[in-house]
């Protein structure tokens, strides 16, 4: 049983990078990963030598091992096979996607086997969990995870499933813009209209929030799911590649994966550096082969901030154009916005900040690190959920429906029954009628989404109500009821009011994984964890045994030396023991349990010899 004192964390599970945070002593703070970095790349891979990699190591071989490196899994999570988003992703992703066994969800081919997207995301979450456990020095089992405001129930459920696979109880899924606003503490102040400008590594999201009295209403969402920091990196890469070819007789670095990997890493570094300095030097020695018998070629180039801004001018303009459209659709003028929150590492670029300031006519909020703000908000919410009595006036968000729920009506339109942001559990009833003379059946398509056009929304399920009383069109009353339980199960029923004829359906948000499949994956994951812990425990035990024997031998050395002074035998015993000790020290640094066992045996023999020598009486020889 988990106590309120067990640590809880907030996780920003991003498209490109993920961050884990917590609240300690009342202060929200980011937990660095085991390499000391606040950000962990959301990348999972199986290296060419078969080793599974997660995070920065996986990212560092993403180009050289593109077919087995999965990034941007967030674009796929909870999506259906054949959907427009999945087809778009398939065109640009270098790794292979296949349909799941049911044919309606997606699997990623990784290391030669199909893996569900939830499993991929779970590996990133497991890495963050392990980082948090290393930081806390104990288990971490509860978390709040953030998702984009536009995620539907299926995508949210898939994210929850990923958490379950990683061994986390997902206390709540909250919207990223809401989380960012929470981190700034806007919920405690007066009513505000806030824009969250989130330019991340792979996506751009802009959200308009109406905040007041603990209500965070995301009133408009816009963005471009293929615009982010990686596009800026690519511009630098193209510039470097072009100049390199010009200076080196047409050598095309794009043909060399190793060179491309280094170019990408260097481009990203230079871009980040240019947010703080006017110029960045790029040195890539021995970057490419120059041909048989010739020395490898170096790349040395200086990139200025002005040049970077020139190279990426259109990308920044695209961000502002998307923002303009989103505000226009929401009927909000820039000067009506009270605050603008910058989220995502790319918003540190001075040109982006200038563009935002020029558009809104005010300085954006910069108090919280843009890379960390979403995770910090999630941590605040996690703390509020875990210890509600202890929260110091923190906002406790309620579980709400993320998007409108409704049915398809005549003309292919979408009729909302339960609007977005309705607190669950809830139920709503609407009356409909027939569209044709003597119509005896009606098809009910249950949908979720924000579009007025039914086909643009997600189809959750459908059923037919038959046996309707024949009558003139418009005379029959059909009652449609939506009932959402506390568990998020949506029950939809249709009833002919006159005849009492009724038909219903239960819709549960699904990630594409069946419960059996999910259980099997969780069990396999637990077995893996157990095996790792077991081998880690074995290693520690072997090291401890070696360390104890080494200490004992070293403790006996003075007595042995004294005994040897009066003995004709074993004069080289200390010298030989030193050899064994040197081997033991080397083995202790390694992870080879067999070598540790072998060294332990040699140490035991030495120890017995030393004990014998040390115990030799003064007259013995």
């Amino acid at each position: 049983m988990m106590s309120d004192q067990d640590p809880v964390v907030g996780i920003d599970l991003g498209t490109t990078n993920s961050v884990v945070a917590t609240v300690r002593d009342g202060v929200p703070r980011v937990i660095p990963n085991r390499s000391g970095q606040p950000l962990t790349p959301s990348v999972v891979a199986v290296a060419k030598n078969g080793k599974p990699l997660v995070g920065s190591l996986a990212k560092r071989q993403a180009i050289t091992n593109a077919e087995n490196t999965v990034y941007a899994a967030k674009r796929l999570i909870g999506r259906r096979w054949g959907s427009k988003e999945v087809e778009d992703a398939r065109r640009v992703l270098p790794y292979e996607l296949v349909a799941g066994p049911e044919g309606n969800d997606i699997r990623v081919m990784l290391g030669g086997r199909p893996v569900s997207v939830a499993e991929i995301s779970s590996q990133v979450l497991a890495e963050l969990k392990a980082d948090a456990e290393a930081w806390f020095g104990g288990p971490v089992t509860r978390a709040v995870i953030t998702v984009p405001a536009y995620f539907n129930d299926g995508q949210r459920q898939a994210t929850k499933d990923a958490g379950r696979i990683a061994g986390l109880e997902v206390l709540r899924i909250i919207n990223e813009p809401t989380s960012a606003a929470l981190a700034y503490g806007f919920g405690k102040k007066l009513e505000k209209k806030v824009v969250v400008f989130d330019l991340g590594g792979g996506t751009f999201d802009v959200s308009v929030l109406d905040i007041g009295q603990s209500v965070y209403d995301v009133v408009a969402v816009g963005g471009d799911t293929y615009l982010g920091g990686e596009d800026f990196d690519r511009r630098i890469m193209d510039w470097l590649t072009f100049n390199f070819a010009k200076e080196n007789g047409g050598v095309d670095l794009r043909q060399d994966k190793m060179a491309l990997q280094r170019l990408r890493d260097a481009s990203e570094r230079a871009k980040c550096e240019l947010s703080g300095t006017p110029t960045a030097d790029i040195h890539l020695p021995f970057l490419a082969a120059a041909g048989e018998g010739k020395a490898a070629l170096h790349l040395t180039k200086q990139l200025s901030r002005d040049k970077l801004e020139e190279l990426t001018k259109d990308l920044v303009e695209r961000c502002i154009a998307v923002t303009e459209k989103t505000l226009k659709d929401a009927g909000v003028r820039p000067n009506q916005v009270d605050e603008v929150i910058l989220v995502g590492g790319m918003t540190r670029m001075p040109r982006v900040q200038r563009a935002v300031r020029d558009y809104f006519g005010k300085e954006p909020c910069k108090g919280v690190h843009p890379d960390e703000v979403v995770a910090l908000g999630a941590a605040i919410q996690a703390q509020a959920l875990a210890a509600p009595a202890a929260q110091g006036g923190e906002v406790l968000l309620l579980d709400v429906t993320p998007q409108n729920l409704g049915i398809m009506v005549v003309g292919g339109y979408f009729q909302t029954i339960i609007p977005r942001n309705t607190t669950v559990p809830t139920n709503q009833t609407h009356l409909f009628t027939t569209v044709q003379e003597n119509q005896t059946s009606v098809r009910i398509a249950v949908l979720q989404g924000e579009s007025d056009k039914a086909t643009d929304n997600e189809l959750l399920g459908e059923f037919v109500l038959a046996g309707i009383r024949p009558a003139r069109r418009g005379e029959v009353a059909i009652e449609i009821t939506f009932d959402i339980s506390a568990d998020g199960i949506v029950g939809v029923s249709a009833r002919d009011v006159d005849t009492g004829q009724e038909q219903s359906i239960n819709v549960t948000a699904t990630s594409g994984l069946t419960e059996d499949e999910l259980k099997r994956i969780i069990d396999a994951h637990l077995d893996d964890q157990l095996e790792k812990k077991q081998s880690s425990a074995d290693l520690e035990r072997a090291r401890a045994r070696v360390a104890a024997t080494v200490d004992e031998i070293e403790g006996l050395v003075p007595a042995v030396q004294k005994a040897l002074e009066r003995s004709r035998f074993g004069r080289d015993a200390v010298q030989k023991a030193e050899g064994v000790l040197a081997r033991a020290r080397l083995a202790q640094e390694g992870k080879d349990t067999d070598e540790l066992a072998s060294v332990a045996e040699a140490l035991d023999r030495t120890l017995q010899l030393f004990k014998g020598l040390a115990a030799t009486p003064p007259d013995g020889a």
Binding site: A47, K48, R60, D256, F286, A582, K591
Partner: protein
């Protein structure tokens, strides 16, 4: 006074550069200083004539030890795996020491003499005007662009470009051929590390040398173990041991350049094997070379 080890290294250098007489002299001096030096003995076996009578001999046949190659002499000493510490069996038996050497010894089964055994001497070159007496100050003629007009100098004086009369410096291709032969011979003598040293020299000159790469492939598991033993525990995190600006002055190929770029003080050897994307042998070979050359440390 050079130590036996230094003499052996000088001897090996002379051997691979084709100065076989120097090689013999240096290796024999090494054996005088240290009669049990296995390395000197194994290289002497490679020379035409093998171990001569003047060389101190041992009562039993010598099996060269799998010692660290000269190029890695500065590396931190590490223990070889037990399997490698065991003397490897002879593939072909070496010629036993001959107490009365034949002035024209049968080279079999020793390797054929290198293609460029002859070290050029002064006599090999065309006569110089200085040979007959002190030089008088030559007149200096300037060309149209202000530089020395060599053609005019040649016409108005006896100065000619020095041309070897016989023999010539070895070409890289010839070096590669010598090293490949030496690698095979050392392997047959059980000197894995010495053999590997030759292969490394070849790959440094020609990273795609097919025969050298075949050799590596055939002996992969043993070689990987050997290279890894030079790295020490694979959980160690290597770091750059030189200044970043000095990297430019190294002699690396682009694959070594890539691997070096991944060494940032956060990734251990085991993960470098995963990151590199190269075959394990190549990664181990490059890392061992970087460590031996003190480009990285762990």
């Amino acid at each position: 006074m050079a130590t036996a080890q230094e003499l052996v290294e000088q001897g090996i250098r002379a051997y691979v550069e084709g100065r076989l007489d120097d090689a013999r002299r240096l290796l024999e001096e090494a054996l005088q200083a240290d009669p049990g030096n296995a390395r000197a003995r194994s290289y002497l076996l490679l020379l035409p004539g093998g171990l001569l009578s003047g060389t101190p001999t041992r009562p039993s046949r010598t099996v060269p030890a799998a010692a660290a190659p000269a190029a890695t002499a500065r590396a931190t000493p590490v223990a070889f795996p037990a399997a490698l510490a065991t003397p490897l069996p002879f593939v072909s038996a070496p010629t036993p020491p001959d107490p009365d050497p034949d002035p024209n010894p049968d080279p079999a089964p020793l390797p054929p003499a290198p293609a460029t055994p002859h070290e050029p001497a002064v006599a090999d070159f065309a006569p110089s005007p200085w040979d007959d007496g002190p030089a008088s100050a030559p007149s200096i003629l300037l060309g149209a662009e202000g530089g020395l007009d060599l053609d005019a100098v040649a016409e108005t004086s006896d100065l000619r470009t020095l041309v070897p009369r016989a023999g010539r410096p070895s070409t890289p291709q010839e070096d590669v051929a010598i090293w490949m032969t030496a690698a095979k011979d050392l392997l047959s003598l059980g000197d894995f590390s010495g053999s590997l040293e030759m292969i490394e020299k070849i790959l440094k000159l020609d990273p795609e040398h097919a025969e050298a790469r075949d050799y590596l492939a055939q002996n992969e598991s043993t070689l990987v173990a050997m290279y890894e033993s030079k790295l020490g525990p694979l959980g160690k995190v290597p770091r750059l041991a030189i200044k970043p600006e000095e990297i430019m002055w190294l002699n690396l190929d682009h694959r070594a350049g890539f691997l070096l770029s991944q060494i940032d003080g956060t990734v251990d050897y085991e993960n470098l094997f995963a990151l590199s994307g190269l075959p394990r042998l190549d990664t181990a070979r490059i890392l061992a070379a970087l460590l031996a050359d003190e480009v990285i440390s762990a």
